[in-house]
């Protein structure tokens, strides 16, 4: 019959309630936008019909993308970065994984000293790492260049590999290995058939991390590469007179490639669980 109206909040209260709950989401939107501004800018300007100096917008063109090696030295710098990255990643991943297994699965004396030695490079400023290595190379009359750079990259990547792989090993249920041994697998078989497959995602992640650290490194590379130009060095040096749009092309491509790899990795993981 006569029903009392269902009470609702006044409009003003509703608005402030909505704000309170979503304030942080709104902030997040702004935050992410801020994060992507230089990326979008770089991507946009890769289409700039720039000529020598990519500072002001001249016109839209696909030429840079069609001819990414058009600007002098861009591709050789990229090639150097990739070569160094692959070599350093390969070496650091192996060395670091071995250490991670020692730390995560074995008892030995000198554990805290080892942990300290792994931690210190991550806590040392890159200036110091790069400068000290250069000084030592020079003292032994070794000139900075390709191999010193690779050596330096391996050095600072090992710690990150160790931390990543160690974390993965720690999350591995030791009872799985015990179950394997219980089911007639000796130590070597257990490692091959159970431990290694389960740690592999961590190793892969560590390798990706090492590669991106190496590829993007500037300071340590600057000290130890001499006349060899890597991609970050190329950008730095050309920053003054104008970075060619091709560099933007490469930067954007790296972005999309890396994004693709990460998302693909996540989808593959999800499929495995399903």
């Amino acid at each position: 019959m006569n029903q009392a109206p269902i009470p609702t909040l006044p409009f003003g209260r509703k608005v402030s309630r909505w704000f309170g709950r979503n304030l942080i989401r709104i902030y997040a939107v702004f935050g992410f936008t801020y994060l992507f501004v230089p990326v979008i800018y770089t991507f946009a300007f890769s289409f700039n019909d720039a000529g020598k100096s990519n500072l002001t917008w001249r016109g839209f063109t696909f030429n840079n993308w069609k001819n990414p090696c058009g600007a002098p030295d861009v591709c050789s710098a990229l090639g150097n970065s990739i070569k160094i990255g692959l070599l350093a990643t390969f070496t650091a991943t192996i060395l670091g994984t071995l250490i991670a297994f020692a730390l995560g699965r074995h008892r030995f004396r000198g554990r805290s000293a080892t942990n300290l030695l792994i931690f210190l490079p991550m806590a040392t400023p890159e200036v110091v790492l790069g400068a000290s290595l250069l000084a030592m190379f020079l003292a032994f009359r070794i000139n900075p260049g390709f191999w010193p750079t690779v050596i330096a990259h391996v050095m600072f990547c090992i710690s990150f590999v160790v931390v990543t792989v160690k974390a993965r090993i720690a999350s591995l249920d030791p009872r799985l290995e015990q179950a394997a041994m219980d089911l007639y697998a000796n130590e070597r078989e257990t490692f091959r058939r159970v431990t290694l497959p389960l740690v592999m995602p961590g190793i892969a992640g560590a390798a990706l991390l090492a590669f991106s650290l190496s590829f993007d490194d500037f300071i340590i590379t600057n000290f130890n590469s001499g006349t060899l130009v890597t991609f970050p060095k190329f950008v730095y040096v050309s920053a003054a007179r104008g970075i060619p749009a091709q560099a933007n092309v490469i930067g954007s491509s790296m972005f999309f490639l890396a994004l693709f790899i990460v998302i693909a990795g996540q989808l593959v993981n999800r499929k495995k669980v399903r």
């Binding site: 799985l176 179950a179 219980d182 089911l183």
Partner: protein, 378 residues
């Protein structure tokens, strides 16, 4: 290649096994023989050493002192992959990166067995999961994972199958179902099962023989009925079911029974059911054996008078009474709700009576609270 000949069969014999971790003694001079083909339970509260004992049998721990034999074969120092022993782990420990088929086939492959497919299919049928071969462990429910873990172990026909609280993670109904199934599989396949659990009902349901462990030692070993009706220590009396334990002194002897004085009242106790060797004795009687009546009703057998009901709990099947006796001890009485006794209320004065043979006697130095449930809620 691992040598795990399942040809070495026989009883499992643990002799004077001790395991210490630093200052902590997990297992203390434990000896026991488990007959081949039996369903054996290691029962005890957390930290009593039962899991450590199991792991030593599996080879995942090495005893500090002592030896382990299967039949005539000394396996004390053998690695897990060299023993004809398989384990069903508490959290199942199924290999997440392998399919169900490969999980079950794992042990067979390591031993180089040829007709893997047939054996795996047979054992999957046994655990009633015949079409799950291609799935991954994460796609299975808890109960299904447990059955696959069982299949993975059984398919190897080990001399000994060890189960480390395998039903702990399952809900009540599923647990009951699995208890029956496990027992059935054991009799089907004829393997020796060693089952570790803290659930006394589970142990009594499934096992032929139970060893009750406490603080690294075996308190008592025997059939479920033996342990229940004739506990040797207060711990066993309290851990299996519930017991009323009352201190008393033997006041006289007569043929095959004795008279014990408890707080001024006299109780008869058969000599053969009295484990105490001195005159100091702890008299025990299980709550479900006691009849509770108003004081004027005529009683038969043993009787304790002067009690007052302090709490009544209706539990469906039975009504549980807490009765405060004149010497300030609370006794428990469980009366079946079969209409035999009228329900009593708090404050009612009552007398308790029971048949003499149900009484058991423990050594007088026993701690009457040993093994009783404290804060541990299972």
């Amino acid at each position: 290649m691992a040598d795990a000949s399942t040809s070495s069969h026989g009883d499992l014999i643990l002799t004077r096994i001790t395991k210490t971790f630093g200052d902590f003694t997990a297992v203390d001079d434990l000896s026991l023989t488990i007959p081949e083909g039996s369903f054996f339970a290691l029962l005890g509260p957390s930290g009593c050493g039962k899991t450590t004992t199991l792991r030593m049998i599996a080879g995942l721990e090495e005893p500090t002192v002592g030896s382990i034999f299967i039949g005539n074969t000394d396996i004390t120092t053998k690695k897990p992959y060299q023993r004809p022993v398989n384990t069903v782990f508490q959290n199942y420990a199924l290999f997440p990166h392998l399919s169900i088929f490969e999980n079950v086939a794992f042990g067979l492959r390591r031993r180089g067995i040829k007709d893997v497919k047939e054996q795996v299919e047979k054992v999957l049928k046994l655990v009633e999961l015949p079409h799950f071969a291609d799935r991954k462990p994460t796609q299975l429910s808890g109960g299904q994972q447990q059955r696959i873990a069982l299949a993975r172990a059984i398919v190897n026909r080990p001399a000994l199958l060890l189960l480390d609280e395998p039903l702990g993670a399952l809900d009540l109904k599923l647990r009951r179902q699995m208890q029956i199934e496990l027992k059935w599989i054991q009799t089907e396949v004829g393997l020796t099962f060693v089952h570790v659990t803290h659930d006394q009902e589970e142990a009594m349901t499934m096992a032929d023989t139970i060893a009750v462990m406490n603080e690294g030692r075996i308190e008592q070993m025997g059939s479920p009925a033996e342990l229940y009706e004739s506990p040797a220590t207060a711990f066993v009396a309290n851990f299996l079911g519930q017991s009323n334990l009352i201190r008393g002194v033997v006041s006289s002897s007569d043929g095959d029974s004795q008279v014990v004085t408890v707080h001024g009242q006299k109780i008869s106790l058969l000599k053969e059911r009295n484990k105490s060797e001195s005159s100091s004795v702890v008299v025990g009687i299980r709550p479900e054996k006691i009849r509770i009546d108003l004081p004027d009703v005529e009683t038969k057998g043993n009787a304790l008078t002067g009690g007052i009901v302090s709490d009544v709990s209706f539990v469906g099947v039975s009504t549980q009474y807490v009765v405060e006796m004149p010497w300030k001890q609370d006794l428990m009485v469980f009366e079946q709700n079969d209409g035999g006794t009228p329900t009593l209320r708090p404050g009612d004065p009552v007398s308790l009576s029971w048949n003499v043979p149900f009484t058991f006697g423990l050594d007088g130095s026993q701690d009457v609270n040993a093994g009783a449930e404290t804060d541990e809620i299972d």
